[in-house]
């Protein structure tokens, strides 16, 4: 088929909501755009384990410990689903991991903030996973088949992540005054970074329109952010906590909450490597990768030896 015909076929599939599959022809820019988004998403799952892993051995009860352990294990699995989806676009997992470990690849800037105490684990599950779910539910209809399928699995598994976080927040918000204060402090610190997870404003996001046209993204950054804010406010009110935003108020005309300005300077500072934990996260990633090298090699050597013995 001629290039122009291939392009027409591709465009008509996008138009008709027919998913693009790995062996289908696709424009190079579509492939690259998907690869960047999916691999960044995968990296975020992997780095996302680090702020929480520290608290597994410090969980206040066995119930909290098994939940957190299961959540972190899920995130490793979600990273794997996403790396697999990205691999169908013609890259290898090793290359992607190398880009992550060398600092070349980006991951969600939220994971460069520290989890200072147990209330943070509640806030992370509730707000960070809540924001991620808002984004991922929309991505279940993304145009690239393997990515959409990975998102369906992830969403199905992730709903418990947010619920266990909210349960932690409830225990603390309804606990002693000191516990309630810890919950409020965690909410104060995580609220704005959680809103930044949806990315820059639509007007500042040059690739967004192309991604929306290709249906890689289905809903714009600002619309997803608004949806998340509207959903979260009754949850905050139930806890009897307050949001660190004096401009927050219901706008009858818009049918949405208005909110104050986001500190985009902070966002760009953290994403470009100067957040509170960027260095720690990369060091921990590299250490885990390097310390595990002998295991990967030994497993491969063992498999090869066994194969030789059979042959």
């Amino acid at each position: 088929m001629e290039q122009a015909d291939l392009q027409r076929l591709f465009d008509s599939k996008i138009e008709q909501e027919i998913r693009i599959e790995p062996k289908d022809w696709m424009p190079e820019a579509y492939r690259k755009n998907n690869l960047r988004q999916i691999s960044q998403h995968a990296h975020s799952e992997i780095v996302g384990m680090l702020p929480e892993a520290n608290w597994i051995s410090r969980a206040p009860s066995l119930r909290r410990k098994v939940a957190l352990l299961a959540k972190v294990q899920d995130e490793a699995g979600h990273g794997l689903y996403l790396y697999s989806a990205a691999e169908t676009l013609g890259t290898s997992r090793d290359e992607m991991l190398e880009d992550l470990n060398s600092g070349k690849a980006k991951y969600s800037s939220i994971f460069n903030y520290p989890t200072l105490n147990w209330a943070d684990i509640g806030a992370v599950g509730w707000l960070v996973d809540g924001a991620a779910i808002t984004n991922q539910v929309a991505l279940c209809r993304t145009s690239y088949g393997p990515y959409a399928r990975a998102m369906v699995r992830v969403c199905k598994e992730e709903s418990f992540h947010q619920r266990q976080g909210y349960e932690i927040m409830m225990s603390m918000a309804f606990g002693t005054p000191e516990q309630k204060q810890m919950a409020q402090d965690a909410l104060n610190r995580w609220w704005w970074p959680a809103l930044m997870m949806f990315g820059p404003n639509d007007s500042e996001s040059p690739h967004s329109q192309q991604s929306l046209n290709w249906k890689i993204k289905r809903v714009s950054n600002d619309d997803l952010r608004q949806e998340f804010i509207d959903k979260s406010i009754p949850q905050v009110e139930y806890l009897g906590l307050t949001l660190p935003d004096p401009d927050l108020k219901w706008n009858e005309e818009r049918g949405h909450y208005d909110f104050g300005p986001i500190d985009w300077e902070e966002f760009y500072r953290v994403i470009s490597g100067n957040g509170p934990c960027n260095k720690d996260r990369l060091e921990a990633r590299n250490k885990a990768h390097n310390d595990g090298a002998w295991v990967r090699e030994a497993a491969m050597a063992f498999a090869e030896k066994r194969q030789t013995n059979v042959a």
């Binding site: 299961a70 697999s84 290898s92 090793d94 990975a150 990967r296 090699e297 498999a303 066994r306």
Partner: protein
């Protein structure tokens, strides 16, 4: 140092007896035994299955989307292969 990548396996899960195995995704493993163990850990954490198949990805031969026309087009106009092509009077009932 041996820096060879672990090969890729495709994973198929039977969700319950009576249903066929269905493709659920893929993973890397050093050998088939490890692929099975990893598939159990990654794809069966919530009672998703009662049986797992793993197949080295490079053992799968796939059709080319570019051949879609010659592969599937011939079936499209053979509507006489479908039951609704034949008219049976109402008084006969379900057939």
């Amino acid at each position: 140092m041996n820096s060879k990548n672990w090969p890729l396996f495709e994973v198929f899960i039977r969700s319950k007896n009576g249903l066929s195995h269905k493709h659920v995704g893929s993973l890397h493993a050093a050998d088939p035994a490890m692929a099975l163990e990893n598939a159990r850990d990654v794809y069966c954490r919530r009672n998703e299955g009662v049986s797992i198949w793993v197949v080295p990805s490079d053992h799968i031969t796939a059709s080319d989307p570019g051949d879609a026309e010659e592969l599937y087009e011939p079936a499209r106009d053979k509507i006489y292969r479908h039951p609704t092509f034949y008219t049976i009077p109402d008084e006969i009932g379900h057939m």
